[in-house]
């Protein structure tokens, strides 16, 4: 059982470049989330989705975009990468909201230089 799979695991970008972080889950979960975690800090919600075709902003959405065309996939797009976006990005999924536990992927470690 793969769970939540994120690719790539590591990436170095130059300022101004764009990239897409991939996230897929095989648990048929409706809810999916993108978080960022800066060194020594907690998790901040970037975007989330309650089902295919439905997305909404979290706490720190600026500089990012998402789409949810299928239940399984929830890619995160960085446009015009900036040094402030250097972070570890985690994708998570859950069967429902709140009371359901979130299952996390292994993360993507992204550096913007």
């Amino acid at each position: 059982n793969a769970g939540v799979t994120q690719t790539p695991k590591f990436r170095i970008l130059k300022i101004g470049q764009s990239m897409t972080l991939q996230c897929t889950q095989d648990m048929n979960h409706n809810y999916m989330y993108w978080y960022r975690q800066d060194p020594g800090m907690g998790l901040k919600l970037i975007y989330y989705s309650v089902g295919a075709g439905i997305t909404d902003k979290g706490e720190v959405p600026n500089g990012y975009n998402v789409s949810r065309s299928t239940t399984e996939d929830f890619p995160l797009r960085l446009e015009l990468a900036a040094p402030s976006q250097t972070s570890v990005y985690f994708c998570a999924s859950s069967y429902g909201a709140g009371i359901q536990p979130q299952h996390f992927g292994d993360g993507t470690r992204l550096s913007i230089l």
Partner: protein, 110 residues
């Protein structure tokens, strides 16, 4: 907006000592979850608490949800080196999304 704070930010204990982390919310919570993140790893769900005053145990770990549902604690008895990591609480208000706490990093020396 809703804020969830944890104290302490960091604690270093000797193996065998007890450890407690406290989680405090600015608003009343409908439920709270606890996660553990090993160094270099991803958060892993430990448990969820729903009822006021609820206490749950998992081996050496004891989780409590406050009577007012605004605070929670995690207590580890007789820590082991395998307990090393950062412990996060995450609270939900009504049907809102989970808000993760600031985390407590635990270091255990043998």
């Amino acid at each position: 907006g809703q804020q969830v704070m944890q104290i302490p930010q960091y604690q270093h204990v000797q193996e065998g000592e007890d450890f407690t982390t406290y989680c405090n919310s600015s608003t009343t919570l409908s439920n709270i979850q606890w996660y553990k993140q090993r160094p270099g790893g991803h958060p892993v769900f430990l448990i969820q608490l729903v009822k006021s005053g609820e206490v749950k145990k998992q081996k050496r770990l004891t989780f409590q949800f406050g009577e007012a549902k605004k605070n929670s604690s995690l207590h580890i008895t007789a820590t082991q080196t395998t307990d090393v990591g950062t412990y996060f609480c995450a609270g939900q208000t009504g049907f809102q999304k989970l808000v993760f706490g600031t985390g407590t990093r635990l270091l255990v020396s043998p």
